[in-house]
Amino acid sequence: MEFAELIKTPRADNVVLHRPFYLAVEGTLCLTGHHLIFSSRRQDNAEELWLLHSNIDSIEKRFVGSLGTIIIKCKDLRIIQLDIPGMEECLNIASSIEALSTLDSVTLMYPFFYRPMFDTVEDGWRSFLPDQEFELLSSVTDEWRLSCINKEFSVCSSYPPVVIVPKSIDDEALRKVAIFRHGSRFPVLSYYHKKNGMVMMRSSQPLTGTNGRRCKEDEKLINATLRPGKRGYIIDTRSLNVAQQARAKGGGFEQEAHYPQWRRIHKCIERFNILQESLIKLVEACNDQSHNMDRWLSKLEASNWLTHIKEILTAACLAAQCIDREGASVLVHGTEGTDSTLQVTSLAQIILDPSCRTIRGFESLVVREWLQAGHPFQQRCAQSAYSNSKQKWEAPVFLLFLDCVWQILRQFPCSFEFNEQFLIMLFEHAYASQFGTFLGNNENERSKLKLSQKTMSLWSWVNRSEELSKFQNPLFEANSLVIWPSVAPQSLQLWEGVFLRWNRPSKFLDEAHEEMNNIIKYNKELQAKVNALRRQLAEMETDDKMQENL
């Protein structure tokens, strides 16, 4: 298919662009296969707006006489309005945008066409390999092994080719366990807590069904992670009710009788369309421009977004508490083990492990706990808050995770190497990107798409010093401790950087950030100067002494 077929009117002049907090500008609109480009060539302030078609969540068109208006709502939550003279042009452009923003073949997506304009220092596809992770692990413990059982994705289609499992469990046993777990997602290592050797594992639900099936290998596997005489916790991210209902569909949960050394705790983290509805309501409330918006707090409350944040954070804190404070190992799962499970395991690591609070460490966490762990990004992030499709598999699971990270970052502003912009950038790229990183639903699909050969990795771009500087937190001071966030409602806030980003003037906040950077930059410069002078003085003094001794 040629994109040209979809573009009936590639260019329109005298188009007026409206955005909140900016004056309307007139310019030329161009459509290409992957971009909507608006450029104003007026006098000195020539500006261009490039919008990826894949960033467009929905469009609306309106007509007043022959003047057509297109309202474009983006997945990054921005809303722009284009006034296009000429009914036909407007209709053509609208239908092109609609077609181009809803391409159904992944291989037509921009990452397959994108040619980077920067020199790659490091291939992001090879930055975070499981072998390296395992090497780090094996330097502290020898109780685990790297299993290639899933090499051809033959055992579990949503797992990566290699996984970390207890050394005492062989591949044969793993195969049996896989049959006993939903989607074959058998328990694997998620995190090893160096401080006390406790671990966090994740999996999907066991397929106990109504007649309480059991699997000896499964019991053996998870017991293998316990120290002698120690107990562990199973954190089920569903309420007891939901977990019980799952039995009717062949799923279920671990029975105490068969797992006597484990204590099960149910936490209620919502899934799928409930989350998507929540996002839609929240964004609706944030975009409400009516003047007497005195029901703002009720609307915020009704969206339930912050309730989800609180639930997810609470579950993650609980997992972290079990590991660090109770000295117990933990197994986390929900139903499939691809959504709420990953929210909990990844946030717990941020709380427990200082390395996850660095830029590289966080990238590695996203790769391990989200991409390789098989979070179906393509399904979940197909649409965002302006979606009309209401597909069951669309859900802002990853955005909720990023929001939770932001909440912790806000409470510990000096403990993270990255800043809020870094999290916002990840949100944007998860929904629309020139890079291939978030394409596909799991490693299996990514390898079939040959993404690592055909597309550029997001990490190749981010990890260059030019880009990194934008994402560094000037206040960062390495903090080797466990950080316990507060989950009280008073401590949780709306993430304005994402949800009010386009609805509030940011000038004064930007100024404050700039000032913060200046204060720290100046301090560092002075430090460098002082150190240089000290060295110089010390050298002269030794010279002096040497001369004296001569």
Partner: protein, 651 residues
Amino acid sequence: VENVRLLDRLSSRKAALGTLYLTATHVIFVENVSETRKETWVLHSQISSIEKQATTATGCPLLIRCKNFQVIQLVIPQERDCHDVYISLIRLARPVKYEELYCFSFNPKLDKEEREKGWKLVDLNEEYNRMGIPNNYWQISDVNRDYGVCDSYPTELYVPKSATAHIIVGSSKFRSRRRFPALSYYCKDNNASICRSSQPLSGFSARCLEDEQMLQAIRKANPGSDFIYVVDTRPKLNAMANRAAGKGYENEDNYSNIKFQFIGIENIHVMRNSLQKMLEVCELKSPSMSDFLWGLENSGWLKHIKAIMDAGIFIAKAVAEEGVSVLVHCSDGWDRTAQVCSVASLLLDPYYRTMKGFMVLIEKDWVSFGHKFNHRYGNLDGDPKEISPVIDQFIECVWQLMEQFPCAFEFNERFLIHIQHHIYSCQFGNFLCNSQKERRELKIQERTYSLWAHLWKNRADYLNPLYRSDRGQTQGTLRPQMAPCNFLYKFWSGMYNRFEKGLHPRQSVTDYLMAVKEETQQLEEELELLGERLANLQKSQLNDNKVKSKQQDRSKQLGLSTSNNSLANTPQEYSNDLKSFPSRSPSQGDEEDSALILTQDNLKSSDPDLSANSDQESGVEDLSCRSPSGGGCLPSEDSGKDSDEAVFLAV
């Protein structure tokens, strides 16, 4: 009383055992744990209510709510002791004479001269001079010299030059409590001004020639404009109801060239109830997100804050952008009028966003114009219906502005919180009584100390590190978003959950940046020193002068290395399920967590200023404010607190 338990509100399982002392001025709780002996001090004047709850098996619970939003839960073993404490506190918390208040016994060990200097720190005449007054249009009037015209006004007032004593007195007779229009703020760039008064006694049809002339005079004092705004800060309904009582509002037909405007800010009773509702939400034990947001909305608190801000914004716009003078009033002109005039001044004039300027602003619009501090904040036992968080709301407006304009204010959040604290503490004389007249009669300035001098002395603690006097944000008028930005108004947990340290960010950006700035200053000094030494050394080498330099000690690293942050704190109760787990008690680390209750350790309490101050918070902050970890979280076993402090105190 011994063996009293102090409960932690966040966690019922954590309680500290100790001894309770009642003194003439404070309630003091000292923990039994031998090495720390943590102390909690509460001034009697801070106590807003005491509640004795039903006796349980463990003892008799006593709940003390404070005006600075601290809530203390005690369990006293013996019912009789509890009753005695209760009775004593009820008496002690409600003094009947000013002389019983703490400021008359508080002695910060300053001599007479220093005390007088302290009171002179804020001088309102100087302030009017700064505004450019007196000038061709405005002059000082001595009509109220002996409080003869209005006993709640100050003696020195600024009025339009064309307003004769006859007009003023005439106008005053037509205004509630004779609070005639007087100048609050003058904008020398365009001659526009903000004046304030009480409501006119217009009833349904009454007029007063002098009052009309008075408003005319205000208009003429601004030759650039042919009308003035008259802003009635009450809801229209309230103002109309007042007409039946012979009061009311200005009729546009009777006054030439006025534009009349209602801005609906609710009265003190609505505000008192609103705060009460919000505090109930803050006090909820482990509320859900919905409980909290719903309760917050239902309290209406943020809506009221927004109403006050909107009024201030309206006036600031009229003055700065339209160049039109404004007369503001409510009913008596000492609550809503004070709020609105001071918010508008703050928006208009960058001077009021400095530390000194903010003191001047409170002194001008609140203290001198007769805001009834004693009644509103219940310093002496009085009518509970007079109590209302009027200045608290103003202080919150300032905080909301600070959130929107982070670089515009010279001072930080702590400054606001400490001012709020001292409005209730009665430790300084500034906010005693209901008017200047009463304060003069009591000889406050000779018998008590000024808060402003105390804050000024410690101003380093109150600086906003992001403030730059030469930056765009700090210059000129602040223009906050008027509408529809409800979402810009946020719940201020730093104030209303001030004592639940566990709820706040565990690291403070402000404190971190202050530490960096302090270090930067030291670096600048050292750089200069090193430069000099280098020059000397080069000179001496040049002269082949082999004088040994014995300054090696200087080469020791300054305290610049990254600090070993002590940021750990213990987790909250994330799940009740954990309790029943048999293996270990889940509440390890109790002793670490107890720091969440405000305390003052022995060392600090022996410092006269601090102990007397009873500002436990500053006690904690003094200890930890230099460290980026912020107050409130104690180091856990795996952190070195010593190193943390050493880093910032080394130089």
